[in-house]
Protein backbone atom coordinates (compact mmCIF):
# COMPACT_ATOMS: atom_id res chain seq x y z
CA UNK A 1 0.00 0.00 0.00
CA UNK A 2 1.21 3.54 -0.63
CA UNK A 3 2.76 5.62 2.14
CA UNK A 4 2.32 9.30 2.86
CA UNK A 5 5.01 11.55 4.27
CA UNK A 6 4.03 14.34 6.69
CA UNK A 7 4.57 16.94 4.01
CA UNK A 8 1.90 15.20 1.91
CA UNK A 9 -0.70 15.05 4.70
CA UNK A 10 -4.03 16.53 3.69
CA UNK A 11 -7.35 16.83 5.42
CA UNK A 12 -9.50 13.81 4.55
CA UNK A 13 -6.55 11.53 3.84
CA UNK A 14 -6.93 7.99 5.19
CA UNK A 15 -3.93 6.47 6.98
CA UNK A 16 -3.13 3.43 9.09
CA UNK A 17 -2.05 4.22 12.64
CA UNK A 18 -1.24 1.36 15.00
CA UNK A 19 -3.30 -0.94 12.85
CA UNK A 20 -6.44 1.20 12.79
CA UNK A 21 -7.73 3.17 9.80
CA UNK A 22 -7.73 6.89 10.62
CA UNK A 23 -8.75 10.04 8.84
CA UNK A 24 -6.62 13.19 8.96
CA UNK A 25 -8.87 16.00 10.12
CA UNK A 26 -6.31 18.81 10.40
CA UNK A 27 -2.60 19.11 9.76
CA UNK A 28 -0.15 21.88 10.65
CA UNK A 29 3.62 22.05 10.13
CA UNK A 30 5.54 23.55 13.06
CA UNK A 31 9.24 24.28 13.30
CA UNK A 32 10.33 25.41 16.77
CA UNK A 33 13.31 27.76 16.63
CA UNK A 34 16.07 25.28 17.30
CA UNK A 35 14.41 21.92 17.56
CA UNK A 36 12.84 19.07 15.70
CA UNK A 37 10.24 20.13 13.15
CA UNK A 38 6.92 18.36 13.54
CA UNK A 39 3.43 18.16 12.16
CA UNK A 40 0.59 18.66 14.61
CA UNK A 41 -2.20 16.43 13.34
CA UNK A 42 -5.79 15.96 14.45
CA UNK A 43 -6.93 12.44 13.65
CA UNK A 44 -10.16 10.47 13.77
CA UNK A 45 -10.01 6.73 14.32
CA UNK A 46 -12.55 5.41 11.84
CA UNK A 47 -13.11 2.23 13.81
CA UNK A 48 -13.65 3.70 17.26
CA UNK A 49 -14.67 7.24 16.36
CA UNK A 50 -12.05 8.66 18.74
CA UNK A 51 -10.68 12.09 17.75
CA UNK A 52 -7.32 13.18 19.13
CA UNK A 53 -4.26 15.29 18.41
CA UNK A 54 -0.79 13.96 17.89
CA UNK A 55 2.59 15.18 16.72
CA UNK A 56 4.63 13.46 14.03
CA UNK A 57 8.30 14.00 13.24
CA UNK A 58 8.52 16.06 10.09
CA UNK A 59 9.32 13.70 7.22
CA UNK A 60 7.86 10.65 8.96
CA UNK A 61 5.68 8.37 6.82
CA UNK A 62 2.41 6.62 7.46
CA UNK A 63 0.87 3.81 5.47
CA UNK A 64 -2.19 4.74 3.47
CA UNK A 65 -5.35 2.95 4.60
CA UNK A 66 -7.54 1.34 2.01
CA UNK A 67 -10.61 3.26 3.06
CA UNK A 68 -13.35 4.15 0.62
CA UNK A 69 -16.67 5.82 1.18
CA UNK A 70 -19.61 4.63 -0.88
CA UNK A 71 -23.14 5.90 -1.33
CA UNK A 72 -25.38 2.96 -0.55
CA UNK A 73 -29.04 2.17 -0.07
CA UNK A 74 -30.25 0.42 3.03
CA UNK A 75 -31.97 -2.83 2.07
CA UNK A 76 -32.89 -4.81 5.18
CA UNK A 77 -31.62 -6.35 8.40
CA UNK A 78 -31.62 -9.93 9.57
CA UNK A 79 -31.01 -8.79 13.15
CA UNK A 80 -27.31 -9.64 13.03
CA UNK A 81 -26.24 -7.71 9.95
CA UNK A 82 -27.57 -4.66 8.16
CA UNK A 83 -27.46 -4.99 4.42
CA UNK A 84 -26.68 -2.15 2.05
CA UNK A 85 -26.53 -1.97 -1.72
CA UNK A 86 -24.20 0.22 -3.80
CA UNK A 87 -26.03 2.83 -5.84
CA UNK A 88 -23.38 2.95 -8.57
CA UNK A 89 -25.25 0.53 -10.78
CA UNK A 90 -23.31 -2.52 -9.64
CA UNK A 91 -26.05 -3.75 -7.25
CA UNK A 92 -23.22 -4.99 -5.05
CA UNK A 93 -24.38 -5.69 -1.51
CA UNK A 94 -22.41 -5.57 1.70
CA UNK A 95 -23.28 -6.55 5.25
CA UNK A 96 -22.42 -4.25 8.15
CA UNK A 97 -22.41 -5.41 11.76
CA UNK A 98 -24.01 -3.58 14.68
CA UNK A 99 -20.88 -1.65 15.68
CA UNK A 100 -20.34 -0.40 12.13
CA UNK A 101 -23.95 0.77 11.81
CA UNK A 102 -23.77 2.51 15.20
CA UNK A 103 -26.04 5.52 15.68
CA UNK A 104 -27.18 5.40 12.05
CA UNK A 105 -29.48 2.58 13.15
CA UNK A 106 -31.96 5.20 14.41
CA UNK A 107 -32.37 6.71 10.97
CA UNK A 108 -32.40 3.77 8.54
CA UNK A 109 -35.28 3.67 6.13
CA UNK A 110 -35.82 1.09 3.41
CA UNK A 111 -34.10 2.34 0.25
CA UNK A 112 -32.83 5.28 2.27
CA UNK A 113 -29.40 6.52 1.21
CA UNK A 114 -26.42 6.27 3.55
CA UNK A 115 -22.67 6.71 3.30
CA UNK A 116 -20.87 3.50 4.13
CA UNK A 117 -17.14 3.54 4.86
CA UNK A 118 -15.30 0.40 3.79
CA UNK A 119 -11.86 -0.54 5.09
CA UNK A 120 -10.25 -3.31 3.06
CA UNK A 121 -13.76 -3.90 1.73
CA UNK A 122 -15.20 -4.36 5.23
CA UNK A 123 -17.82 -1.85 6.44
CA UNK A 124 -16.61 0.01 9.53
CA UNK A 125 -18.94 2.97 9.63
CA UNK A 126 -22.38 3.92 8.38
CA UNK A 127 -23.46 7.55 8.30
CA UNK A 128 -27.07 8.49 7.70
CA UNK A 129 -27.79 11.48 5.47
CA UNK A 130 -28.14 14.82 7.26
CA UNK A 131 -31.94 14.74 6.94
CA UNK A 132 -34.32 11.78 6.84
CA UNK A 133 -38.07 11.48 6.41
CA UNK A 134 -39.59 8.94 8.79
CA UNK A 135 -43.11 7.96 9.82
CA UNK A 136 -44.39 8.36 13.36
CA UNK A 137 -45.73 5.10 14.79
CA UNK A 138 -46.44 6.21 18.34
CA UNK A 139 -47.30 9.52 19.98
CA UNK A 140 -49.99 11.10 22.12
CA UNK A 141 -52.86 12.57 20.12
CA UNK A 142 -52.57 16.25 19.31
CA UNK A 143 -55.17 18.75 20.44
CA UNK A 144 -56.98 19.99 17.36
CA UNK A 145 -56.13 23.62 16.60
CA UNK A 146 -53.26 23.65 19.05
CA UNK A 147 -50.68 25.20 16.74
CA UNK A 148 -49.46 28.07 18.82
CA UNK A 149 -48.48 26.74 22.24
CA UNK A 150 -44.92 25.80 21.25
CA UNK A 151 -45.01 22.78 23.51
CA UNK A 152 -43.55 19.44 22.42
CA UNK A 153 -44.25 15.79 22.99
CA UNK A 154 -42.19 12.69 22.28
CA UNK A 155 -42.91 10.72 19.10
CA UNK A 156 -41.56 7.29 18.21
CA UNK A 157 -40.52 6.70 14.64
CA UNK A 158 -40.50 3.47 12.62
CA UNK A 159 -36.88 2.98 13.50
CA UNK A 160 -37.50 3.22 17.21
CA UNK A 161 -35.93 6.64 17.47
CA UNK A 162 -37.77 9.07 19.74
CA UNK A 163 -37.98 12.68 18.62
CA UNK A 164 -39.61 15.73 20.23
CA UNK A 165 -42.36 17.04 17.96
CA UNK A 166 -44.93 19.89 18.14
CA UNK A 167 -48.23 18.97 19.79
CA UNK A 168 -50.20 19.11 16.53
CA UNK A 169 -48.25 16.27 14.90
CA UNK A 170 -50.02 12.89 14.77
CA UNK A 171 -49.34 9.18 14.31
CA UNK A 172 -48.90 8.26 10.66
CA UNK A 173 -47.40 11.60 9.70
CA UNK A 174 -44.03 11.60 8.01
CA UNK A 175 -41.64 14.11 9.51
CA UNK A 176 -38.16 15.33 8.57
CA UNK A 177 -35.44 14.91 11.18
CA UNK A 178 -31.88 16.33 11.32
CA UNK A 179 -29.92 13.14 12.04
CA UNK A 180 -26.97 15.07 13.46
CA UNK A 181 -29.01 16.61 16.28
CA UNK A 182 -32.06 14.33 16.40
CA UNK A 183 -34.28 17.39 16.05
CA UNK A 184 -37.65 17.70 14.31
CA UNK A 185 -37.36 19.92 11.24
CA UNK A 186 -40.91 19.93 9.94
CA UNK A 187 -43.41 17.81 8.10
CA UNK A 188 -41.87 15.87 5.23
CA UNK A 189 -42.02 17.72 1.94
CA UNK A 190 -42.06 14.43 0.03
Amino acid sequence: MATYSTNEFKSGMKVLLEGDPCSIVENEFVKPGKGQAFNRVRLKNLKTGRVWERTFKSGESLEAADVMEHDMEYVYTDGEYWHFMKTDGSYEQIAADKSAVGDAMMWLREQGECTVTLWNEVPIQVVAPNFVDLEIVETDPGVRGDTATGGTKPATLTTGAVVKVPLFINIGEIIRVDTRTGEYQGRSKA
Partner: protein, 318 residues
Protein backbone atom coordinates in the same frame (compact mmCIF):
# COMPACT_ATOMS: atom_id res chain seq x y z
CA UNK B 1 -0.13 34.00 -5.30
CA UNK B 2 0.96 37.64 -5.50
CA UNK B 3 0.84 40.04 -2.54
CA UNK B 4 -1.03 43.32 -2.93
CA UNK B 5 0.78 46.08 -4.78
CA UNK B 6 0.68 48.15 -1.59
CA UNK B 7 2.53 45.36 0.23
CA UNK B 8 5.08 45.01 -2.56
CA UNK B 9 5.78 48.76 -2.49
CA UNK B 10 6.25 48.62 1.28
CA UNK B 11 8.55 45.65 0.92
CA UNK B 12 10.67 47.61 -1.51
CA UNK B 13 10.73 50.61 0.81
CA UNK B 14 11.73 48.57 3.86
CA UNK B 15 14.52 46.95 1.87
CA UNK B 16 15.75 50.30 0.66
CA UNK B 17 15.53 51.85 4.14
CA UNK B 18 17.33 48.83 5.59
CA UNK B 19 20.21 49.21 3.13
CA UNK B 20 20.52 52.93 3.85
CA UNK B 21 20.46 52.32 7.60
CA UNK B 22 23.13 49.64 7.37
CA UNK B 23 25.32 51.76 5.10
CA UNK B 24 24.94 54.66 7.55
CA UNK B 25 26.28 52.39 10.28
CA UNK B 26 29.28 51.40 8.18
CA UNK B 27 28.11 48.03 6.83
CA UNK B 28 29.16 47.02 3.31
CA UNK B 29 26.91 44.71 1.30
CA UNK B 30 28.42 41.48 -0.03
CA UNK B 31 26.96 38.60 -2.04
CA UNK B 32 27.89 34.96 -1.54
CA UNK B 33 26.71 31.90 -3.52
CA UNK B 34 23.41 30.11 -2.79
CA UNK B 35 24.92 26.86 -4.05
CA UNK B 36 27.72 25.57 -1.88
CA UNK B 37 29.91 22.54 -1.66
CA UNK B 38 28.89 21.97 1.94
CA UNK B 39 25.54 21.66 3.66
CA UNK B 40 24.96 22.67 7.25
CA UNK B 41 25.65 20.04 9.94
CA UNK B 42 22.90 21.07 12.36
CA UNK B 43 20.59 18.00 12.71
CA UNK B 44 17.50 20.14 12.38
CA UNK B 45 18.37 22.26 9.39
CA UNK B 46 17.75 20.52 6.12
CA UNK B 47 20.09 21.49 3.28
CA UNK B 48 18.44 20.87 -0.08
CA UNK B 49 20.65 18.84 -2.41
CA UNK B 50 21.20 19.87 -5.99
CA UNK B 51 22.78 17.65 -8.59
CA UNK B 52 25.28 19.49 -10.76
CA UNK B 53 27.84 18.56 -13.43
CA UNK B 54 30.41 18.58 -10.61
CA UNK B 55 28.39 16.37 -8.34
CA UNK B 56 26.16 17.17 -5.38
CA UNK B 57 25.92 20.73 -4.14
CA UNK B 58 23.76 22.20 -1.38
CA UNK B 59 21.43 25.17 -1.34
CA UNK B 60 22.63 27.28 1.60
CA UNK B 61 20.44 27.51 4.70
CA UNK B 62 22.17 30.78 5.56
CA UNK B 63 25.16 32.76 4.25
CA UNK B 64 26.99 32.20 7.55
CA UNK B 65 29.72 29.83 6.38
CA UNK B 66 30.57 32.05 3.40
CA UNK B 67 30.39 35.37 5.27
CA UNK B 68 32.75 34.08 7.94
CA UNK B 69 35.25 33.30 5.22
CA UNK B 70 34.95 36.92 4.10
CA UNK B 71 35.58 38.00 7.71
CA UNK B 72 38.68 35.81 7.80
CA UNK B 73 40.03 37.88 4.95
CA UNK B 74 38.55 41.31 5.76
CA UNK B 75 37.63 42.05 9.38
CA UNK B 76 34.94 44.58 8.40
CA UNK B 77 31.28 45.30 9.00
CA UNK B 78 29.53 43.27 6.32
CA UNK B 79 25.96 42.25 5.52
CA UNK B 80 24.06 40.17 3.03
CA UNK B 81 20.39 40.15 1.98
CA UNK B 82 19.48 37.18 -0.14
CA UNK B 83 17.57 33.93 -0.59
CA UNK B 84 18.22 30.96 1.69
CA UNK B 85 16.71 27.49 1.52
CA UNK B 86 15.53 25.01 4.14
CA UNK B 87 13.87 21.77 3.13
CA UNK B 88 11.02 20.45 5.27
CA UNK B 89 7.52 21.71 4.72
CA UNK B 90 5.35 24.79 4.33
CA UNK B 91 3.51 26.57 7.12
CA UNK B 92 2.09 30.02 7.86
CA UNK B 93 5.51 31.14 9.14
CA UNK B 94 7.70 28.77 7.16
CA UNK B 95 8.69 28.74 3.52
CA UNK B 96 11.41 26.49 2.04
CA UNK B 97 12.86 29.57 0.31
CA UNK B 98 12.93 32.87 2.14
CA UNK B 99 15.04 36.03 2.37
CA UNK B 100 17.69 36.32 5.07
CA UNK B 101 19.32 39.51 6.27
CA UNK B 102 22.59 38.56 7.98
CA UNK B 103 25.35 40.87 9.27
CA UNK B 104 28.60 40.83 11.23
CA UNK B 105 30.26 43.56 13.28
CA UNK B 106 33.88 43.07 14.36
CA UNK B 107 34.82 44.60 17.70
CA UNK B 108 31.19 45.05 18.65
CA UNK B 109 29.71 43.29 21.66
CA UNK B 110 26.57 41.20 21.31
CA UNK B 111 24.66 43.64 23.48
CA UNK B 112 25.80 46.61 21.39
CA UNK B 113 24.86 44.84 18.16
CA UNK B 114 21.35 44.19 19.40
CA UNK B 115 20.87 47.75 20.64
CA UNK B 116 22.08 48.98 17.29
CA UNK B 117 19.54 46.83 15.45
CA UNK B 118 16.62 47.84 17.66
CA UNK B 119 17.63 51.45 17.07
CA UNK B 120 17.78 50.72 13.32
CA UNK B 121 14.28 49.21 13.36
CA UNK B 122 12.90 52.24 15.18
CA UNK B 123 14.15 54.46 12.36
CA UNK B 124 12.47 52.57 9.51
CA UNK B 125 9.63 54.43 7.79
CA UNK B 126 7.31 51.44 8.09
CA UNK B 127 8.13 50.55 11.68
CA UNK B 128 5.01 50.15 13.79
CA UNK B 129 4.58 52.73 16.58
CA UNK B 130 5.40 50.10 19.21
CA UNK B 131 8.94 49.84 17.80
CA UNK B 132 9.68 53.55 17.74
CA UNK B 133 12.25 55.28 19.90
CA UNK B 134 11.45 55.78 23.52
CA UNK B 135 9.78 52.42 23.92
CA UNK B 136 11.65 50.09 26.25
CA UNK B 137 12.54 46.68 24.91
CA UNK B 138 12.32 43.96 27.56
CA UNK B 139 15.29 41.66 27.98
CA UNK B 140 14.30 38.25 29.27
CA UNK B 141 16.31 35.40 30.71
CA UNK B 142 15.56 32.01 29.15
CA UNK B 143 15.83 30.13 32.44
CA UNK B 144 13.48 32.52 34.20
CA UNK B 145 10.93 32.36 31.37
CA UNK B 146 10.93 28.55 31.43
CA UNK B 147 10.50 28.59 35.21
CA UNK B 148 7.66 31.11 35.10
CA UNK B 149 5.66 29.70 32.23
CA UNK B 150 6.54 26.00 32.19
CA UNK B 151 7.61 25.40 35.76
CA UNK B 152 10.89 23.93 34.58
CA UNK B 153 14.47 24.86 35.41
CA UNK B 154 16.02 24.05 32.04
CA UNK B 155 19.58 23.95 33.38
CA UNK B 156 18.85 21.41 36.11
CA UNK B 157 15.85 19.40 35.00
CA UNK B 158 16.24 15.68 34.44
CA UNK B 159 15.34 13.62 31.42
CA UNK B 160 12.63 11.87 33.42
CA UNK B 161 11.12 15.17 34.50
CA UNK B 162 11.11 16.36 30.91
CA UNK B 163 9.37 13.17 29.77
CA UNK B 164 6.73 13.54 32.48
CA UNK B 165 6.23 17.15 31.46
CA UNK B 166 5.70 16.14 27.83
CA UNK B 167 3.29 13.37 28.86
CA UNK B 168 1.09 15.96 30.50
CA UNK B 169 0.34 17.71 27.22
CA UNK B 170 -3.14 17.35 25.71
CA UNK B 171 -1.53 16.47 22.42
CA UNK B 172 0.10 13.06 22.10
CA UNK B 173 3.75 13.87 21.46
CA UNK B 174 5.45 11.29 19.29
CA UNK B 175 7.95 13.38 17.35
CA UNK B 176 10.41 13.41 20.23
CA UNK B 177 10.96 9.67 20.25
CA UNK B 178 14.48 8.42 19.65
CA UNK B 179 17.80 8.28 21.48
CA UNK B 180 17.95 10.25 24.74
CA UNK B 181 21.11 12.22 24.03
CA UNK B 182 22.01 15.87 24.56
CA UNK B 183 20.25 16.68 21.30
CA UNK B 184 17.04 15.15 22.64
CA UNK B 185 17.24 17.26 25.77
CA UNK B 186 17.75 20.39 23.70
CA UNK B 187 14.83 19.41 21.41
CA UNK B 188 12.50 18.74 24.35
CA UNK B 189 13.38 22.08 25.96
CA UNK B 190 12.91 23.88 22.66
CA UNK B 191 9.51 22.26 22.17
CA UNK B 192 8.42 23.34 25.65
CA UNK B 193 9.72 26.86 25.06
CA UNK B 194 7.91 27.21 21.75
CA UNK B 195 4.61 25.81 23.03
CA UNK B 196 4.46 27.19 26.57
CA UNK B 197 6.60 30.31 26.66
CA UNK B 198 6.72 31.97 23.26
CA UNK B 199 3.11 33.09 23.06
CA UNK B 200 3.58 35.04 26.32
CA UNK B 201 6.34 37.23 24.89
CA UNK B 202 4.76 40.61 24.30
CA UNK B 203 5.95 43.35 21.98
CA UNK B 204 9.57 43.60 20.91
CA UNK B 205 11.76 41.72 23.39
CA UNK B 206 14.95 39.70 23.62
CA UNK B 207 15.74 36.35 25.20
CA UNK B 208 19.23 35.32 26.34
CA UNK B 209 20.70 32.67 28.56
CA UNK B 210 20.15 29.62 26.39
CA UNK B 211 21.97 26.43 27.43
CA UNK B 212 25.34 25.61 25.88
CA UNK B 213 23.70 22.77 23.91
CA UNK B 214 21.82 25.42 21.92
CA UNK B 215 24.88 27.51 21.14
CA UNK B 216 25.11 26.55 17.43
CA UNK B 217 28.13 28.62 16.29
CA UNK B 218 28.08 31.06 19.20
CA UNK B 219 30.70 31.24 21.96
CA UNK B 220 29.85 29.49 25.21
CA UNK B 221 30.44 31.60 28.31
CA UNK B 222 33.05 29.60 30.27
CA UNK B 223 31.82 30.25 33.81
CA UNK B 224 28.09 29.70 33.23
CA UNK B 225 28.18 27.25 30.32
CA UNK B 226 25.46 29.32 28.69
CA UNK B 227 25.40 30.18 25.00
CA UNK B 228 26.32 33.73 24.07
CA UNK B 229 23.23 33.86 21.99
CA UNK B 230 20.34 36.34 22.03
CA UNK B 231 17.07 36.10 20.16
CA UNK B 232 14.72 38.93 19.25
CA UNK B 233 10.96 38.34 19.29
CA UNK B 234 8.06 40.44 18.08
CA UNK B 235 4.78 39.46 19.74
CA UNK B 236 5.99 35.94 20.26
CA UNK B 237 7.34 35.50 16.74
CA UNK B 238 11.06 34.68 16.50
CA UNK B 239 12.69 37.25 14.23
CA UNK B 240 16.40 37.30 14.90
CA UNK B 241 19.24 35.14 16.17
CA UNK B 242 22.39 36.96 17.29
CA UNK B 243 25.66 35.48 18.49
CA UNK B 244 29.01 36.36 19.93
CA UNK B 245 30.64 34.40 17.15
CA UNK B 246 32.76 31.30 17.83
CA UNK B 247 36.42 31.71 16.81
CA UNK B 248 37.98 28.45 17.95
CA UNK B 249 38.48 25.87 15.14
CA UNK B 250 39.03 23.03 17.65
CA UNK B 251 35.74 23.83 19.37
CA UNK B 252 34.12 23.87 15.91
CA UNK B 253 35.50 20.35 15.36
CA UNK B 254 34.01 19.22 18.67
CA UNK B 255 30.61 20.63 17.84
CA UNK B 256 30.70 19.13 14.36
CA UNK B 257 31.53 15.74 15.86
CA UNK B 258 28.66 15.93 18.38
CA UNK B 259 26.24 16.97 15.67
CA UNK B 260 27.46 14.19 13.38
CA UNK B 261 26.88 11.63 16.13
CA UNK B 262 23.40 13.01 16.74
CA UNK B 263 22.70 12.81 13.01
CA UNK B 264 23.98 9.25 12.86
CA UNK B 265 21.84 8.14 15.79
CA UNK B 266 18.84 9.53 13.97
CA UNK B 267 19.57 7.81 10.69
CA UNK B 268 20.45 11.07 8.99
CA UNK B 269 23.12 11.52 6.33
CA UNK B 270 26.51 12.83 7.39
CA UNK B 271 27.56 16.37 6.45
CA UNK B 272 31.25 17.05 5.94
CA UNK B 273 32.66 20.06 7.78
CA UNK B 274 33.24 23.08 5.56
CA UNK B 275 37.06 23.34 5.56
CA UNK B 276 36.88 26.92 4.32
CA UNK B 277 34.83 27.84 7.39
CA UNK B 278 37.25 26.02 9.67
CA UNK B 279 40.29 27.77 8.26
CA UNK B 280 38.55 31.15 8.37
CA UNK B 281 37.54 30.69 11.99
CA UNK B 282 41.14 30.96 13.11
CA UNK B 283 41.48 34.27 11.25
CA UNK B 284 38.11 35.85 12.15
CA UNK B 285 38.11 38.96 14.32
CA UNK B 286 36.20 39.02 17.61
CA UNK B 287 32.73 39.86 16.42
CA UNK B 288 29.04 39.66 17.01
CA UNK B 289 26.70 38.64 14.20
CA UNK B 290 22.99 38.29 13.59
CA UNK B 291 20.49 36.88 11.13
CA UNK B 292 16.90 37.99 10.55
CA UNK B 293 14.19 36.37 8.47
CA UNK B 294 13.42 39.40 6.34
CA UNK B 295 9.98 38.20 5.22
CA UNK B 296 8.98 37.54 8.82
CA UNK B 297 10.27 40.94 9.87
CA UNK B 298 8.20 42.56 7.14
CA UNK B 299 5.16 40.46 8.04
CA UNK B 300 5.36 41.70 11.65
CA UNK B 301 5.96 45.31 10.65
CA UNK B 302 2.89 45.32 8.42
CA UNK B 303 0.72 43.56 10.99
CA UNK B 304 0.14 40.53 8.77
CA UNK B 305 -0.16 36.87 9.82
CA UNK B 306 1.36 34.76 7.11
CA UNK B 307 4.61 34.74 5.17
CA UNK B 308 2.79 34.20 1.91
CA UNK B 309 1.19 37.63 2.29
CA UNK B 310 4.57 39.28 1.74
CA UNK B 311 6.18 36.88 -0.75
CA UNK B 312 5.66 36.54 -4.49
CA UNK B 313 4.71 33.02 -5.66
CA UNK B 314 5.34 31.30 -2.31
CA UNK B 315 5.06 27.56 -1.79
CA UNK B 316 1.47 26.60 -0.97
CA UNK B 317 0.42 25.20 2.38
CA UNK B 318 -0.44 21.45 2.25
Amino acid sequence: MIPTWDTLKKRARVLSDMRSALAFRGYIEVQTPVLGRYGVFDPHLHSIEVSTFRGTRYLQTSPEYALKQVLGRAPERIYQIGPVFRGNDVGPRHQPEFTMLEWYAPDTSLTALIEEFIDLLAGLTDAPDEWREGLAVEHHDYGELMQSFAGINPHQTTERALEAHLDAYDVEISHLAGPRDEQWRSDALDFIFSTQVQSHLEGLCTVSGFPGSQAALAEIEPTTGLAQRTELYASGIELMNAYQELRDPDELDTRWKKASEARSRRGMSQMALDVGLRDAMALMPVCAGAAVGFDRLLMCMLGLDRLDEVMILPWQDG
